[in-house]
Point group: D2
Chain length 386, copies 4
Amino acid sequence: MKQYNIGMVGYKFMGKAHSHAYKEVPMAFPGTPVPVMKAICGRNKAGVEQAAAQFGWESAVTDWRELVQRDDIDIVDINAPSDAHKEIAVAAAKAGKHVFCEKPLALNLADAREMLQAAEEAGVKHMVSFNYRFAPAVQLAKKLVQEGRLGRIYHFRAWFLQDWIIDPDFPLVWRLDKNVAGSGAHGDLGAHLIDLAHFLIGDIEEVVGMSETFIKERPLPSSMTGLSAKGDASAPKGEVTVDDATLFLARFANGALGSFEATRFAPGHRCTNAFEINGSKGSVKFDFERMNELQVYFTDDAEDVQGFRRVMATDAAHAYMDAWWPAGHSIGYGQTFTHVIVELLNAIEEGRQPVPNFADGVKCQAVLEAVEKSVDERRWVKISEM
Amino acid sequence: MKQYNIGMVGYKFMGKAHSHAYKEVPMAFPGTPVPVMKAICGRNKAGVEQAAAQFGWESAVTDWRELVQRDDIDIVDINAPSDAHKEIAVAAAKAGKHVFCEKPLALNLADAREMLQAAEEAGVKHMVSFNYRFAPAVQLAKKLVQEGRLGRIYHFRAWFLQDWIIDPDFPLVWRLDKNVAGSGAHGDLGAHLIDLAHFLIGDIEEVVGMSETFIKERPLPSSMTGLSAKGDASAPKGEVTVDDATLFLARFANGALGSFEATRFAPGHRCTNAFEINGSKGSVKFDFERMNELQVYFTDDAEDVQGFRRVMATDAAHAYMDAWWPAGHSIGYGQTFTHVIVELLNAIEEGRQPVPNFADGVKCQAVLEAVEKSVDERRWVKISEM
Amino acid sequence: MKQYNIGMVGYKFMGKAHSHAYKEVPMAFPGTPVPVMKAICGRNKAGVEQAAAQFGWESAVTDWRELVQRDDIDIVDINAPSDAHKEIAVAAAKAGKHVFCEKPLALNLADAREMLQAAEEAGVKHMVSFNYRFAPAVQLAKKLVQEGRLGRIYHFRAWFLQDWIIDPDFPLVWRLDKNVAGSGAHGDLGAHLIDLAHFLIGDIEEVVGMSETFIKERPLPSSMTGLSAKGDASAPKGEVTVDDATLFLARFANGALGSFEATRFAPGHRCTNAFEINGSKGSVKFDFERMNELQVYFTDDAEDVQGFRRVMATDAAHAYMDAWWPAGHSIGYGQTFTHVIVELLNAIEEGRQPVPNFADGVKCQAVLEAVEKSVDERRWVKISEM
Amino acid sequence: MKQYNIGMVGYKFMGKAHSHAYKEVPMAFPGTPVPVMKAICGRNKAGVEQAAAQFGWESAVTDWRELVQRDDIDIVDINAPSDAHKEIAVAAAKAGKHVFCEKPLALNLADAREMLQAAEEAGVKHMVSFNYRFAPAVQLAKKLVQEGRLGRIYHFRAWFLQDWIIDPDFPLVWRLDKNVAGSGAHGDLGAHLIDLAHFLIGDIEEVVGMSETFIKERPLPSSMTGLSAKGDASAPKGEVTVDDATLFLARFANGALGSFEATRFAPGHRCTNAFEINGSKGSVKFDFERMNELQVYFTDDAEDVQGFRRVMATDAAHAYMDAWWPAGHSIGYGQTFTHVIVELLNAIEEGRQPVPNFADGVKCQAVLEAVEKSVDERRWVKISEM
């Protein structure tokens, strides 16, 4: 079996998710090229060494510049903080490595385009990790749209609701700092919704948006790990420089109407990444908190038994599921990354670009920025302006 | 339009439900004979007069013996406490009146049979008010079974869960007194499940059961109204003489397996009257707390979109619903009684027995008692023994 | 008991709903003044006479001008098509009658204001029938907001989804004609959402919207009744002059963000009038298809058992429910109107304005038109501009 | 970090599940001893070698007798077909190895007891893989019971519903052969319910049951893999010698009432392993098809907001979840085995017996056989008779 050597930059939440996925690929997808966990890279030597041991990497390094030049690395996996994506990706591409990057692709559209251009000029494969596409239930939604089983699409409404910063004393972590994170709920959560819209419905033509930072100052953090952090209400405060919530309306090129909402201020929603599609022949509904299910409705069902079907997308008939367990046995969040990496490896092996790739990342970034522009200028903004 | 004059005995919870239904019939079902609310009867003069005024009856009387003899009464409606059913029903039938009786038909099987016999000998129409049959979603379940759309039936599982006496200090109301109520959860709730089983699946052949009174003594009540009552934990206590919960397994004549549970000790369940049917071609699920919905599954749905459909049984395609509101607009508990009375009036007008009638009440009673016998004798009991 | 004589103009869907409610009031709410169903009015003599007989009105008349002048009429109930509301309401108020009007109050804001002014000048009571406020589950949401149990409000998102015109051959009924209906999904469905927003959250400051008519021509109808109509695909076609779907974003005066969507193109949704509120201490969710339930979340629940509670708003602790059945026994759409009329009658009896009244109708209309202006001019519009 | 060398017998569905779990332990639970995947064993040389490569075992062997004697093996993992469990487990124990065995522990109670005795005499650690205990939502249910937060327990009702053999032409696979599988739905699915009952409620005292084989003959199989198999309706038929469905009622030692149902004839249920517990202070509901959720109800919630809470058991406050992803990010079926193995390794390291162990397996087997005896003899059977 063909193997590809991975060099990964970043070792926190996403580093763990990717590592987990690399280990699952050979077991669950024996026909896919094998990813070899060659080297993991981070600035903190002790931290990255501990991660290497825990996650099963052959080695731990601290200099990504060196890593991307190594002959024994085929693919560079970038899940460092967003503000480092561009420099690493461009260097990796120039070094002739395939590049696999976490979302958001970059802090802004210009950077994203530069990354795409670098990868194209280098002729390498590139992929952006929009993992929610890879839930089998989302794949089923795509299939139904693509096969025309929902007919002409009228509506796409999507919302990504979380509640982890609802406490005003939750500290000012890096995700609340525009310089590091680029944006708040919009770039973190809204980016996923936009990518799903592109995947499921198609291009967006224009948008009008609204944004808010409900809690404008927060205590400076004493410590932080991943999404959890402890704050001290009496600590000095700093300014929150990203949005707590961003909403926008959109028109798609195919005439469908879109509604998008991303917020971190929705108590009771830990990770409600949800959407609904309405078409002339039917509808589908998805909620990531029940990621193994898709609600499906068809207008041509017999008159007395019409209703949304709760489809467990865990049968062999559903994408990726024959790799896992018998019907009805759920998979989890971790497996979405495994599917991402299966696509990455198979695409490289087959000599084609993976999907979604940097072009999709750029497209997503363009919509994100068009929404920001719309918020700033209080008007409809066409994506073609960007 | 043909009219029938009603004389009703009883004016509490069920008296109100029936009165409400009589008033709805002409408005919602203009093709049905009109019930005329002639006289309401109760032992307490002030109470029944107040009820007559509130519910819209032409007159209030206190002697049911007199009422059932009146020439201007066509139908006697009995919703007095269970221990009075037999005497009134037999007298009404002998007086040539059609008889409409609340469930349980009687305190025991012998009484129920006597009632049926009296009605048959008198040649009158008779009906027992198993109102849950008349929820449109339940009618849909029946239709699917009857049309063979669920195939051969394998399983019927049903449970009626309530929680109104979970507090050990809830007082010893009449429903907890065997002499008045006949039995507890079994006769009150289980009776509905058994009737639904007869309606949806068919005859039961044998049963084995288990019963329990969890709280064996309760404070004597200071006052009571309907299902609500206030107790005083320090009041003197009396013995609870009925079951708090009864469960049984059953075999149906058609080979299906049944599981039944009735309890008043299920916190969180105000009125979960629920069942599921599994057949070779599909399944249905019903829960009265969402009485406008039926969950429906078909094995021959396309492989990738199989799932329980949440059918809102509120379309014109569903029984009774063209009489009410547009699709998607719910009806409530009250309307089930309206449908019962539509059946009663139409059957009388058409010269046929309403369904369910006293024969169904007797059948239900036979199963109730077979279960009690099974509990007492710790063995399987055939219904044919009863 | 005090009585009020009703003269009602209109006898179709809403005429039936109101009639049903008038009959329920005395039975379920014995402490409320009694509405006397004096006269029903419609242009078609045979039709209105049939309705009077079916719904239980004392008389049927065809001239509303005469009706509003009658000495024996206390309250004029207007549920004729929207384009007739203003003229009747103004005449009724001038005649000194209390006025109860279906929504939308008028075809446009100017008319709505004229109606309010007429009622105020006449010193009569006035009410607009936003019935969804009166579902006990919605009343519970209001109570939680009002008592501060959800804390500071961050988000209100609402959508009213239907699917009754999804078939392109569904005919061009009056609801699709701007001259009669004023607007489409926006005025019919969106109006309810806006009123709920005013009720639950407070004033809206500014909006930006988007609107679409997906099917621009439809067959002319051969017949129509209520919401159902049969069309002939080969019939000559006419232009649809109202919106099929309208979405808008909003900012509330209290800083909350709002998202609204009304559409008739959402297959599988018969009547999904749904909203969610997120506040600093909790959230609530409502869906009219499960109108007896409210989903409620509190941030201060113990750490290991946090989750949305499915509250059946059918306990005695919930608004209006002690008037109906024991806990867990659902009410339906019809009962929301009964609650509306209880408010109408009690307010008149107590000498105060009912809520919601024409001022609320005007406020709703102002937002509806601000959204239309926003759609036309492609910009944010402040309600204060209207 | 301490390491334990694993020798595993079996390499099909459960072999894959266990292998997957061994690989996840070091990454997700860095504080737990590391399992070393030393050797995998199966009768088919090619098959087991392919499995070793795919699953990541150091070596593949075909003789389990040799394997259990090897000095470099610390733990023997048995997931071969049920009829082989006893012989392997006894030999492994005698060789001084810790033994980890899939459920059902043995084909019958006598064998199970022999296995327990052998393990006890050898002084080794032993565990049986009742993996459903280890879903965090089930752990939460246990915690609530244990901390008294549900009060005195009244009811436990459980059902394990599947539909994979609903087609009468599905072939006669080994799971339908009593000699290999021991029993059908009862031993396969019911065993899990019984173990959950023991875990959550306590000892069962007596049972009465009912059993059925709906489809008595099936085509002989041409091929089979895991739970999926293809049949040929025209192939010669053989007799089904196990139950398709088994139901039973139970009394627990603590006075609670139990209801159990296991069936493979419930269309629409791929893997509905569900239970509900009702206690004096609250209730919980679980359904494995939504394995990340527990429905929780407390009687002492404020009167107007009582309702089942949908708790996502994915917070750091929930068992095992701090090892995985941020709140709201689901885990799947595979992770339950990872938790099983964490318990196995930690218990060995701490010198205590893992839970559940062979004593739990014996207890489960005793109830399974008591039910079978009850079915045969048509009477209540006490577990103490077994």
